[in-house]
């Protein structure tokens, strides 16, 4: 019975780490005052590029770097269109999603129909490098040790990125300048902060982080990773929702990933839980799995409305979000 709970905890982490990458990446972008609705597409491109090149080079490091760079290039495109050319952020972001997801499927199908077929992960060094390993000592903690401390390296990387990003925002001067741009670009500009450079740099970095999240899905979430079977499906959109739930804080994004992950796992494992605890949790089977799928969006909608009803001061939403900054407007 305890194994069921341990497995449940384990799965919360394994299957929801992409949310953490997507969310932290999007937080970085939104903190610069840009709303990028292209998370889904950016993750897809990072996934396919990192996976394919990673298998070719047979190295996790290469895979991670390539997915970061590929998605970073998508971020560069977004920055160029919205920061330099002042294009509408919503439309640009949505198009990145359309384009990125289509690119993913397209390449997937084309490869699946080609001679060698879609390259498999089995028996590669890449697979070995990305496999779960138990952290000595910590993983021996009864009950939670195995669930929390025996994962692939990308799980820990995601957590480290979230923690570092929190430190960056709250403890460093560039982080402060970034937040100032998201709040009031004209004020930051008047203090000599290079608004254009900061926006480009952070949109690119945030997009790159999302890309690693895409790659993770290919390496660590099991199953096939082919054109017709896209893992990205919805993770990007949940990430955008999670940014709101996490109130634009990378630290709360960690917590939020666990909360949204909890419902996500409940969807898959409600039967197992109900079977293990028939008296206490038997009712779980009566709840349709679709409800758990929709729950992140329902919660976010409620959070969104509730926070607009209450005073704005506590919200972490950057005040200048979604508006392009043009110096001569001031």
């Amino acid at each position: 019975m305890l194994e069921v709970i341990t497995l449940f905890l384990f799965n919360i982490i394994v299957y929801n780490i992409p949310l953490l990458y997507g969310t932290t990446g999007e937080i970085m972008i939104e903190k610069s005052g840009s709303l990028n609705l292209g998370v889904e597409g950016t993750m897809a491109i990072g996934a396919v590029a990192g996976y394919l090149v990673g298998i070719k080079a047979d190295s996790l490091l290469v895979a991670v770097l390539v997915s970061f760079i590929a998605s970073g290039l998508v971020g560069l495109l977004f920055s160029f269109l919205t920061v330099t050319l002042q294009a509408n952020q919503n439309v640009t972001g949505l198009t990145i999603t359309t384009f990125g997801v289509a690119f993913y499927y397209f390449i997937g199908n084309a490869l699946a129909n080609s001679e060698g077929g879609w390259p498999r992960l089995n028996d590669t060094k890449l697979a070995a490098q990305s496999q779960a390993f138990a952290i000595p000592g910590l993983s021996k903690i009864p009950f939670i040790g195995e669930a929390l401390f025996s994962h692939g390296i990308l799980v820990y990387l995601g957590v480290i990125i979230a923690v570092l990003m929190w430190l960056y925002f709250n403890k460093t001067v560039p982080g402060l300048k970034l937040r100032a741009i998201g709040e009031n670009p004209a004020a930051a500009d008047s203090l000599g902060v290079n608004v254009t450079f900061y926006k480009y740099a952070h949109i690119i970095a945030g997009s790159g982080i999302m890309g690693i999240g895409g790659l993770y899905m290919g390496l660590n979430m099991g199953g096939t990773f082919e054109g017709s079977n896209c893992w990205i499906n919805g993770y990007g959109w949940i990430s955008i929702a999670l940014v709101i739930f996490a109130n634009w804080s990378p630290a709360k994004a960690l917590l939020g990933t666990l909360v949204f992950g909890f419902f996500n796992t409940l969807r898959v494992q409600n039967a197992a839980l109900a079977y293990a605890f028939p008296n206490a949790l038997g009712w779980l089977t009566k709840i349709p799995s679709h409800f758990f799928s929709a729950l992140p969006f329902i919660i976010t909608l409620i959070v969104l409305i509730a926070s607009s009803l209450s005073s704005k001061k506590k919200s972490g939403e950057p005040q200048a979000i979604g508006r392009n900054y043009y110096r001569e407007d001031r």
Partner: protein, 524 residues
């Protein structure tokens, strides 16, 4: 003599309008220089060239005797220049400490080393600032925000500090405290330029006064050797005879009467403070005052766009307080306000002249369709009568030049046949010829018996054009004077708050003898 700043032959134009013409100005080390001039005399433009926001078209800038070129706010900061803008540049949701930290150079990449805080606290202590570094800016009072802005530039090591109208938002006690700080800064060897309109403040704080007028440098005088009257003369200049008609009309009963009107601005501060005035038919009443003395709020309150806190407004005997903008318009009060960006209020810039013509009365035609046919005719009439230069009636207003935009706006206001016309800055940014066209349009209306409230900037124009001039200073009525029996100096002194003639002559308190107000209404 070593100068902290020397400006030689600075010229700056925006399009056809020259904001600064061949300006020479010097700031001695360790002095407080007051920069004096009317609205639009080019003070802020000149200072923005020092803070790196604009670049001069020609001329040179010397700092500590060295010729420099200032291309950005960063360059300006590195040269030791700090500017406290009139509109604060603060991130509202950050603390004071964080706001200072954004622009701090050479203090490392990590946030709050104890040394950073200490450095700021030391600076604050040195100049006698009382400030809570951990307070969120959004929770600060205006004076605290200003203190923060000043502390900010001091922490960045500025030796030359420019303050753009710092006293405009402060109470008397706060101004005293600010002046103490400025004197302290002077003792510490800082050089200061302060922009202000208030002559008593100039006399109280400055060592020397430099005067600009219409973008030109007039003179610099030593404060001790001058007085308020002499400064006013320098500032407003000799009266220039303008060839503007002022038809004298038979005046009718008061059309619009305002009693005890109090209005707050967007920040919640009192902008219009218990003002009384009235306009008769066939009369043009000028409103003179330093920019931001409550003109905008006054216009918006009358047009029904801004809630009033207190007071009464009656139009032809009927109260218009609480009426919707539409109702007020139907009553015959028409308002046009040319904001500083000239397109903000009153026109939809992307729409055609035709579409802008019917902005206020599109709903009057029958049926569900907009009557564009007569709108086009109206547009053509306005274009013909006011000589609007445009390719066609279907050209978007945004593509017209400034003068033509203003003609379209005024043309529309007149076309609805109002009996009270409120017009604010109708000639803002226009060349002489366009301005005269506008004056003629207004005079024609006056001849028809319309009562006109003319909110203006140029005293010469107002003296020539208006029958009476109402002067306000910080939202308070300073008095109403007859254009034939006043001088520019008198108005200048009233604008700067030096003299107030309300209740002094009995007649100038802004209350009509034949008021439509009943006694009960006045008491209520």
């Amino acid at each position: 003599m070593e100068y902290a700043i020397e400006l030689k032959g600075i010229t700056k134009s925006f399009g056809p309008v020259a904001a600064n013409k061949n300006i020479n100005l010097s700031l001695q080390k360790g002095e407080i220089l007051a920069l004096l001039g009317e609205n639009g005399s080019g003070k802020t433009t000149l200072m923005n060239m020092l803070s790196g926001i604009y670049m001069p078209d020609s001329g040179s800038i010397f700092i500590d005797g060295k010729k420099v070129s200032i291309n950005s706010p960063e360059d300006s900061g590195k040269l030791g220049i700090g500017m406290v803008h009139q509109h604060f540049k603060l991130v509202e949701r950050f603390t004071a400490l964080e706001n200072i930290r954004i622009g701090m150079r050479d203090a490392g990449r990590f946030m709050h080393g104890a040394d950073v805080r200490k450095k700021i606290e030391d600076t604050a202590a040195k100049f006698g600032f009382d400030i809570d570094l951990d307070k969120i800016v959004a929770n600060m009072a205006v004076s605290e925000k200003q203190t923060l802005e000043i502390l900010k530039v001091l922490c960045y090591g500025a030796k030359i500090i420019i303050l753009d109208e710092p006293t405009a938002v402060l109470t008397v006690q706060e101004i005293d405290r600010l002046f103490d700080v400025l004197r302290k800064m002077k003792e510490e060897g800082h050089s200061i330029i302060i922009i202000t309109h208030k002559l008593n403040e100039v006399m109280a704080i400055s060592d020397r006064v430099a005067v600009l007028r219409h973008g030109e440098y007039i003179d610099t005088v030593v404060t001790k050797e001058t007085n308020e009257k002499a400064l006013t003369e320098l500032m407003v200049g000799r009266k220039i005879e303008l060839n503007i008609d002022r038809p004298v009309m038979e005046k009718t009963h008061p059309l619009l009467e305002i009693r005890d009107l109090t209005v707050k601005n967007d920040e919640g501060a009192v902008a219009v403070d218990h003002i009384n005035f009235y306009i008769r038919g066939g009369e043009m009443l000028g409103v003179a005052g330093i920019a931001g003395s409550g003109q905008k709020e006054l216009c918006e309150a009358i047009a029904g766009l801004r809630k009033i806190e207190d007071g009464q407004m009656i139009h032809e005997g009927e109260s218009i307080v609480g009426m919707s903008p539409k109702k007020i318009l139907e009553h015959g009060i028409s308002m046009s306000f040319i904001p500083e960006d000239r397109l903000g209020m009153g026109l939809a810039p992307s729409l055609s002249i035709t579409d802008n013509m019917i902005l206020k009365n599109y709903n009057e035609s029958k049926g569900i369709f907009v009557d564009r046919k007569s709108a086009r005719e109206e547009a053509q009439k306005v274009i013909d009568r006011l000589e609007v230069v445009t390719p066609s009636t279907e050209t978007p207003v945004r593509r017209l030049s400034g003068g033509n935009v203003q003609k379209v706006l005024l043309g529309r206001e007149i076309k609805s046949g109002p009996n009270v016309l409120i017009t604010a800055y109708p000639v803002r940014g226009l060349d002489i010829n366009s301005s005269y066209t506008i004056y003629n349009i207004l005079n024609e209306q006056k001849k028809k018996g319309v009562g006109i409230l003319f909110v203006g900037e140029d005293l010469d124009v107002m003296l020539a054009l208006c029958d009476k001039i109402m002067v306000i200073c910080h939202g308070k009525l300073q008095g109403v004077v007859n254009s034939n029996h006043t001088t520019k100096e008198e108005i200048g002194l009233m604008m700067t708050g030096t003299i107030n003639i309300v209740n002094k002559e009995g007649k100038t308190d802004g209350i009509a003898k034949d008021s439509a107000f009943t006694d009960e209404e006045v008491k209520a």
